[in-house]
């Protein structure tokens, strides 16, 4: 089938502001939006610039706005985009070129929540045990691939780019609710900041945007509860 791709373009070396490029592509219904973008890049305009790698929704490189919604280009099929497919870079991130945005501010927020297990009491040898229930407690938030689809879909983030955002809260949740970790207090302190978890207004855009189907708002709610009531043991 023939579909019109409408792609937000910006070349920092030539353009003063972004513009819309229009391209017709011949695709199969089962093709991904990423395949359509590749068709444009490979056969029509090699200057079209995007990030991508694994092409099946695991690496998190190709988050972008597709027909108004945040998604991974490799997980949206052309049969689901309608007659026209409009593609834009993630919102509220510094734009570099075309569909590529500067991810560094996003990763800085990730690093701010101490995204690593902190525990000084390791067993002298062998494995440390964890019950199946304790493991299940944080399972959902281990799925995060740091694609930024959630954070950049959030109206609170659009309004205030200092908001730490759902992705960093998800990452914090993964450790706060891991009973092997001893530093929940440190992370909760970060999230209790003025630009922390309280900026979430439970709009649920993040849940819709997450390509890993993480229940992001629930994770944020659990962090809020932990701040109000303390962590259950």
């Amino acid at each position: 089938m023939r579909i019109k791709m409408r792609i937000r373009r910006f070349n920092p070396e030539a353009d003063s502001k972004p513009w819309w490029g229009e391209y017709w592509v011949e695709v199969e219904e089962s093709d991904r939006v990423l395949d359509a973008l590749h068709q444009v890049k490979w056969y029509q305009d090699g200057t079209l610039t995007l990030r991508r790698s694994c092409a099946h929704g695991i690496c998190g490189s190709d988050a972008m706005v597709i027909n108004g919604r945040n998604a991974l280009a490799c997980k949206v099929l052309m049969q689901d985009v309608g007659d026209e497919c409009q593609v834009e870079p993630l919102r509220s991130m510094p734009l570099i070129k075309d569909l590529v945005v500067d991810m560094e501010p996003f990763f800085a927020k990730y690093r701010a929540v101490l995204p690593y297990l902190i525990n000084d009491n390791l067993p002298a040898s062998g494995e440390r045990h964890q019950s199946q229930e304790a493991r299940a407690r944080y399972d959902d938030t281990t799925k995060c691939i740091l694609c930024a689809a959630c954070t950049t879909s959030c109206p609170s983030f659009w309004a205030n780019e200092d908001y730490i955002g759902p992705a960093a809260i998800v990452q914090a949740h993964r450790f706060i609710f891991d009973d092997r970790d001893d530093a929940a207090d440190l992370r909760l302190r970060v999230l209790n900041d003025a630009d922390g978890v309280w900026r979430c207004r439970t709009v649920f855009n993040c849940v819709q945007a997450c390509p890993r189907e993480i229940d992001v708002t629930r994770a944020i709610g659990e962090v809020k509860l932990a701040l109000m009531n303390g962590l259950e043991d």
Binding site: N11, A55, I58, G60, S61, Y116, R135, D139, T142
Partner: protein, 577 residues
Amino acid sequence: MIHTHKFETVVVGAGGAGLMAALYASQGSDTAVLTKLYPTRSHTGTAQGGIGAALGNLEEDRAEWHTFDTIKGSDYLADQDAVDLMCQEAVEVIYELEHMGLPFDRTAEGKIAQRPFGGHTSNFGEKPVRRACHAADRTGHMILQTLYQQCIARDVRFFDEFHVLDLLLSADGQATGVVAYEIDSGDLHVFHGKALIFATGGFGRMWEITSNAHSLTGDGPAIALQKGIPLEDMEFFQFHPTGIYKMGILITEGVRGEGGILRNRDGERFMERYAPNLKDLASRDVVSRAIYLEVRDNKGIDGGRYVHLDATHLGRQIVETKLEDSAEFCKTYLGIDPAVEPMPVQPTAHYAMGGIPTNVDGEVQLNAQGDVVPGFYAAGEVACVSVHGANRLGTNSLVDLVVFGKRAGKAAAAYSQQNDWAELPDETWEPTQAMLQNMLTKEGQHNVADLRTEMQSLMMDKVGVFRTEEGIQSALNRIRELQEAAQDITVMDKGKRFNTDILEAIELQNLLDLAEVTAASALARTESRGAHSREDHKARDDENWLTHTYASKVDGKINLDYAPVNVTIHQPEERTY
């Protein structure tokens, strides 16, 4: 603009091997990690089913059984001392990953959970054993995330989106650094190092149907080859039996580990004929060939080039908790619920057993005699230790990258403590800049995507699961023409900022160089062993071919040399499953 940096250890690549190496190198040396992606985008993250180690958490298991399975799986081409070391060290390194916080699934007693995987057995081939330690079917994702987390905790220095274009050797042949292209700015950076670790991963994008990411273009081995370093056992490339039909996306072997069954158009469990004992859990080369033979015998589904992977009898609970990601791929890309319908699968190019030759400390070898390139290390899929020989067992890629990533990182740190800075060569960035300038100004005749597509289908048809002299030779001839054509291209993007157009052209040239070596190595090996299956030489020939291939490029020509396999534990036997 040219930037220069000095780091005692420079790691190229930030997948599992690169990050593990960086964790250890940074404990003893000032370390930088360069990656053409962001670290968490690396392909380790797509590994699904598990990481093998004889923990014995659910039943008796021993490292020496793991060693036997790996050697037998390799069709006796692996170096047995290296395999033994890997399988012994695998146990400790799993505990280490757990201590780092890796969220393994757990047994009822809270131990690390384990499941069966292809070719892994107890008591030297007796029956399948639960050895694959797993975190749902996103074990690789968890390993990548955990190692990156630890790098952040220890403040490892990263240069994200830096594409390495050249390897620098001193006048007397020591590794002294790399030249990298900063993708955002288009600037060149010279990294002067004492020790250099290549962990750039594989090159499955050489084939049409592949599980590999677009980024897996073999930049590391291609650059090494250009600098006179040989590549080992390049004729052995694994086709995983269960890629999603037409797309190549991997469906984990864990599906069969949990009891999934391959069926042909008659609904027959055909693996019973090919591997009466282990059936669907025979090793990957065996299962991939079986699927090709079924298709050739007109037993593909609806006469097509695929078979069914049936998980419908496992129950929704297993499918949705233990095989969650695979189920999700099927739903997203095929509209199929694997708890209800079988999955259409075909073999998909998956893993390079060959690569840059190293010893067990990751030191890169300069020749078949085993002389090393001082200061140069490699680990992970890019390296050939060789622990996988002619065919890798499932889960062993993850074992390889943590065990040998760690060893290479330690060895590099020790090297940089014991040695002074070797001098950079007279020319560092100049040849790279000239190459880039030439590509930007050239108005050539060919399109990169067309050349890439032709290479991929050529390799799939002629240097894929089954091979013949005639087919390989014709592929080799055409690859050489494509190499010429790839010098005569037009790069449409002439800009400096984020020019992925020029990088795709360079990646194609890298893939073509590796395709040439792969085909030349395959042509010379007149036997069938593991993943290298010659229809004109169907038998394994231990008398003449119990050897590793070392292919180097001398004056534009491929030169082949050979080194004997290290057979210290198990004498080669007929391989049946």
